[in-house]
Amino acid sequence: MQSSQEINLPETIDGWQVEGPPLRIDDTTIFDYMDGGGELYLAYKFNSLLVYRYTRGPEEELLVEIYQMETPDEAFGLLSLDWTGEPVTLNSAFPARPENPVCPDYTALYGEGLLRARAGSLYLRILASRETPDVRETILKLGKILAGKSQPQSLPAILDVIIPSTDSDWKIRRDRTVYFHSHLVLNSFYYLSHENILNLNHSTEGLLVCFEKKEQQPGRQPVKLIVIRYPGIQAALAALASFLQSYLPEKADQVDLCPGPGKTGSVRVEDGWLGWRLSSNYLALVFECPGQESVAELLSQLNFP
């Protein structure tokens, strides 16, 4: 697995000159570097950050940020925060993978002078102060240097939990799938509560997946499915209890929360039908369904181990 320790970027490239040694950031200094933005990287499993600055003349700058995350899943999670942009290939040594039904297979995305990429446990951001065609080429060259030695890119195992049915009226908006550990990240995509009502932390893995009807009505918001893997059955049960008490207090007393076989349920709330399914250490929640039958249909597309 490639690590940021092995990185050796050139001192000059295409007329750009690196400015001094790279800045080394860890979890104690990340807030000095990016203020509250550090919360995002700590919300994933962050180890360290290397920052290189290249300049070309007095006004042009290229900022190269190399985030060393604990595992490739963390780098995937950071890339999953925004699947838009131009997909680019930084390492063509590996054959194309079969298309994943839940999320795009992109490992690098480019747009207007910003490259975001994952390479093993590294998450990369290369940002130009001003974009031109030659700047784009330099950014991609640097990306290829950084990602060129990486191993084939894996995907988080939790993605396998969702097995879309070809018979279903619903399809996944793959470009909206987000992998997360933290309620802060979840809230920045789909707000449930300012409080951590699902007991999320680094020991949990979460997926936010958006479904829409194959014949979607214009203006209708997609249905949101949240799947969380907890470290144990008790933790998953406690999370369901916390969710019901906070989000559905009028319903909480009616749900059997004793340990036992899987639990499922649904209720109509202000923005449509809401459903839940608890199975072993997995909890799934579905929001904004148009009817009770769609809750059942979407939850049936989950195949918990």
């Binding site: 933005g37 802060l184 409080e195 203006g219 709330v269």
Partner: protein, 300 residues
């Protein structure tokens, strides 16, 4: 199992009861007494004025360079509209006296305030007769606010991944000395910072840099979500300015995606700043938006 405490959820926002659910319970003791006294004079008693001044020539064709002369003209329009004075010296002196020590509070990160805006305001204050030494940069934790008699808030317009919007109300977060205490669920309390003794009542003027706002949440800058709005928002009501900024950002997001792309988490700090901290008007029907100049893609 018992419910531990009231929790604000998505459902409170859907019902329109989030502010009620928050109530006055978030107020710290040091603030409660003052707020109760002030409640009889709510900012909602009168409409707030927000100026939206735009000029299509303020940025060059690349969008990178600010034409300081055009920007100066926009600031003059702001000052005239706010004071009724056509002469700039008189206009500035309606807000500040030569005896004031003025702190300029720009946004340092993510979508920093343009230097040209900060410089022009400094030059205008000096031209109005304020000693240059009395005009200070006042952003950050280590600023001596006790010696500053007046503040000009100069935030950049942007969304924020922890608070929904990160513009006017959030611009003083570093004055708290503990910014992490005002993120997450505690972003509702951002208005409390405006009541700190060393801050309260000092903000005389707010000019939001909306030359190139950022409509995505960040936390790091992504150029794809910055666009040349070429505007300034100005006024004295921090809540109204955030409410109008929010409207612009939300409209731009929807336009970019071609569908509703809601800002998340919901920027509850705006409503809390109105309903709980009584800092101004958050509801658009209580805000008079006056537009001056270029009106293409106004987003309002």
């Amino acid at each position: 199992m018992k419910i531990k405490k009231e929790v604000i959820t998505r459902r409170d926002f859907l019902r329109g009861t989030a502010a009620t659910a928050l109530g006055l319970t978030v107020l710290p003791d040091w603030l409660k007494a003052g707020m109760v006294k002030k409640e009889t004079k709510s900012a909602a008693d009168q409409k707030s004025l927000v100026l939206v001044v735009r000029d299509e020539h303020v940025l060059d064709s690349s969008g990178n360079k600010v034409d300081k002369k055009v920007l100066g003209g926009m600031i003059s329009q702001v000052m005239t509209a706010l004071t009724g004075e056509k002469e700039m010296k008189k206009a500035w002196l309606k807000f500040f006296s030569p005896k004031d020590v003025v702190g300029l509070v720009p946004t340092p990160l993510m979508n920093p305030t343009h230097n040209e805006l900060i410089e022009f305001i400094k030059e205008s204050l000096v031209a109005a007769g304020l000693p240059e030494a009395n005009i200070r940069s006042a952003q950050g934790r280590s600023v001596d606010l006790n010696s500053i008699t007046a503040l000009i808030s100069l935030p950049g317009l942007k969304a924020h991944w922890l608070t929904g919007i990160g513009t006017v109300i959030k611009n003083y977060i570093l004055y708290s000395g503990a910014p992490r205490n005002y993120h997450y669920e505690h972003s509702t309390k951002l208005g409390e910072i405006w009541h700190l003794p060393q801050v309260k009542g000092k903000t005389r003027l707010i000019i939001v840099d909306a030359l190139r706002p950022v409509c995505d949440r960040g936390p790091q800058f992504d150029p794809r979500y910055r666009w040349p709005y070429k505007g300034l928002l100005a006024g004295t009501d921090p809540v109204a300015l955030d409410a109008v900024g929010l409207k612009i950002i939300q409209t731009k997001r929807d336009e970019l995606r071609g569908e509703h792309w809601p800002i998340s988490p919901p920027p509850i700090c705006i409503e809390a700043a109105d309903k709980i901290y009584k800092l101004g008007n958050s509801r658009l029907e209580n805000i008079e938006i006056k537009t001056i100049g270029w009106t293409q893609e106004l987003l309002l």
